[in-house]
């Protein structure tokens, strides 16, 4: 488990998180990830590390409310789910990579 990257979800606006590895925390907003996504410009919740994390700006266990979709996200990047993408199935974009 943890090696196939087929179960990716978006947690607090951050895509590319393996559902099979991530432990849910109270207040997390989680949704399925359909295909490639850009992370929201700002963290939508205090992210990751504990209060000692240099980027943590919400001291003492306070958590900001999970924000809605970030208005700063550029519109051209929104992409509807592809009909051939299955939950837990492949998430690759069209075409080739190297």
């Amino acid at each position: 488990m943890g090696v196939c990257f087929d179960c990716l979800v978006v947690v607090n606006g951050v895509p590319d998180i393996r559902a099979c590895q991530r432990v849910v925390e109270p207040g997390d907003t989680i949704r399925f990830q359909w295909g490639a996504e850009l992370p929201a410009a700002q963290p939508q919740k205090r992210e990751a590390a504990g209060a000692d994390h240099p980027g943590a700006d919400h001291p003492g266990g306070e958590r900001p409310d999970p924000a809605g979709p970030d208005p700063a996200r550029p519109e051209p990047h929104a992409r509807p789910p592809r009909s051939d993408e299955q939950s837990g199935g492949s998430r690759s974009a069209e075409g080739e990579a190297w």
């Binding site: 488990m1 990257f5 951050v14 432990v23 963290p43 080739e96």
Partner: protein, 469 residues
């Protein structure tokens, strides 16, 4: 001067304890929230029926355990040290604690993950690796389906069936692809066959009784060769197999199930072994009788050196931990080390028999259809792989990737690498060409885990500085 152990399964835990007992300071780095690995996976905070090593790990003052910590890169630094680049915090989150740890001796014990060979429908939701199904059952008490079929090869399928039964799933059957004759020959080719391993024999008898009690059929020389469904598994096709795993014509049967658990043996998690520059042999880390790899100061233990189960892993871990402590000038207890080495020799016979008894045979290549995906990340089909070999003349693993995109997606070939290499070799053989020229290229992953760009850009803190040592 300290020993760093990567991986806290049976091998890593025993290595940490042995090295600390021998007098070394130990940092045990593990990606899971709690120690134990897949073998001792349990609900958060669960402590039921854990062996003594857990207690010792907790009490040993010379061991620092770093849970939720991912080693994403390793490099050699002057002075014979190995620098590990680590992120600690919730899985895949940006902004995790970023640090480097320098190891004077390194024990690699990252284990192995399930191998699954492709068949039509293997990418449908509802098809799980046997290991994932077991992990969900053991740690979350979740059954992957109501009516589940377990298939593949090896004795590991039995505890998976047990875990599924324990969380209330109906197990429609356990299918072992190899023939009883293959298994028997494997077990008999070694002087120490499992009848000498009374514990293992008793364990097998226990599974047999459990399956009988739940009326779970056990079918040798049988496999799931296709899964069906539109957006989820609804049914599977099974077939009888010949000794090479070719389906016997006319033996196909269809079963209604809502989940399938598949395990065709294991693939070792070799990234740190390759990153440290250690030699491999037959796809595993090459070690001597002290668990030393080809790189001085780097030791490997557990499934990285060969698939042999938790007992062998634990014994190898103890040997590796003692050797790592000795590498730093400590003097671990020779009697304890000698006993562990005896256990290693004993269980290695078992591991060799296991490998001979449960091979993955090439007939699986006939299960996949032309449009079956080999690489799920990049959606590369068997046909496209064949085209890369036949039309674009792929002759090496590296150019194969770039000619058809196989293994270039987020999993970086961890799932498909071996399958793609074996398929390509078969296509080359049909054309009278030699196998891929650089088969190891498929396993080379300098980044052992993804890192967010800004985290990569941020200078890390040295673990040593944080700890004031």
């Amino acid at each position: 001067m300290k020993v760093v152990v990567v991986g806290a399964g049976p091998a890593g835990m025993h290595a940490a304890v042995a090295a600390a007992r021998g007098g070394a300071r130990v940092v045990l780095v593990d990606s899971a929230p709690q120690a134990g690995g897949q073998y001792y996976r349990r609900p958060p905070g669960g402590t039921a029926a854990l062996p003594h090593v857990f207690e010792e790990l907790r009490r040993q003052p010379r061991i620092e355990h770093l849970p939720d910590a991912t080693v994403w890169a390793m490099e050699a630094v002057p002075g014979g040290l190995h620098r590990l680049h680590v992120q600690q915090g919730p899985a895949d989150a940006p902004g995790r604690r970023s640090m480097t740890i320098e190891a004077a001796a390194l024990v690699l014990a990252t284990g192995a993950y399930d191998r699954v060979v492709p068949f039509p429908g293997w990418d449908l939701p509802g098809v799980y690796t046997a290991g994932a199904a077991q992990a969900l059952a053991k740690s979350q008490r979740v059954a992957v389906g109501r009516r589940v079929l377990v298939c593949g090869t090896g004795p590991f399928l039995l505890p998976v069936a047990r875990s599924l039964l324990a969380v209330g799933a109906e197990v429609a059957g356990v299918l072992e692809a190899n023939a009883p004759a293959t298994c028997l020959r494997g077990w008999l080719r070694r002087p120490a066959h499992p009848w000498h391993h009374r514990a293992k024999a008793a364990e097998l008898a226990g599974y047999a009784a459990l399956l009988a009690r739940h009326r779970v059929p056990y079918r040798p020389r049988t496999a799931v060769i296709a899964a069906h469904g539109t957006d989820h598994v609804e049914a599977v096709t099974t077939a009888r197999l010949d000794p090479d795993w070719n389906p016997v014509p006319g033996s196909e049967r269809r079963f209604a199930v809502d989940a399938v658990c598949v395990g065709h043996g294991f693939t070792p998690q070799l990234e740190p072994v390759i990153a440290a520059g250690c030699r491999t042999r037959g796809g595993f880390a090459e070690v001597d009788d002290r668990q030393a790899t080809s790189v001085p100061g780097v030791f490997a233990a557990g499934e990285l050196t060969g698939i042999g189960g938790a007992d062998l892993s634990a014994a190898e871990g103890t040997v590796a931990g003692c050797a790592a402590a000795r590498h730093l000038g400590h003097a671990p207890d020779p009697a304890r080390e000698a006993a562990a080495r005896r256990r290693v020799r004993h269980w290695r016979d078992f591991a060799a028999a296991l490998a001979a008894a449960h091979p993955v045979r090439p007939g699986w290549q006939t299960w996949a259809a032309d449009d079956t995906l080999v690489c799920r990340c990049e959606e590369v089909t068997v046909r496209e792989l064949r085209d890369a070999v036949e039309h674009h003349r792929a002759r090496g693993a590296r150019s194969l990737k770039l000619l058809c995109r196989v293994g270039l997606g987020p999993c970086q070939g961890r799932i498909c690498g071996r399958n793609a290499t074996e398929l390509a070799d078969a296509f080359l053989r049909e054309r009278g060409a030699p196998p891929l020229l650089d088969p190891d290229a498929a396993a080379k992953r300098p980044l052992a885990a993804p890192v967010r760009l800004a985290d990569l850009a941020t200078p890390p803190t040295a673990y040593e500085a944080q700890e004031g040592t």
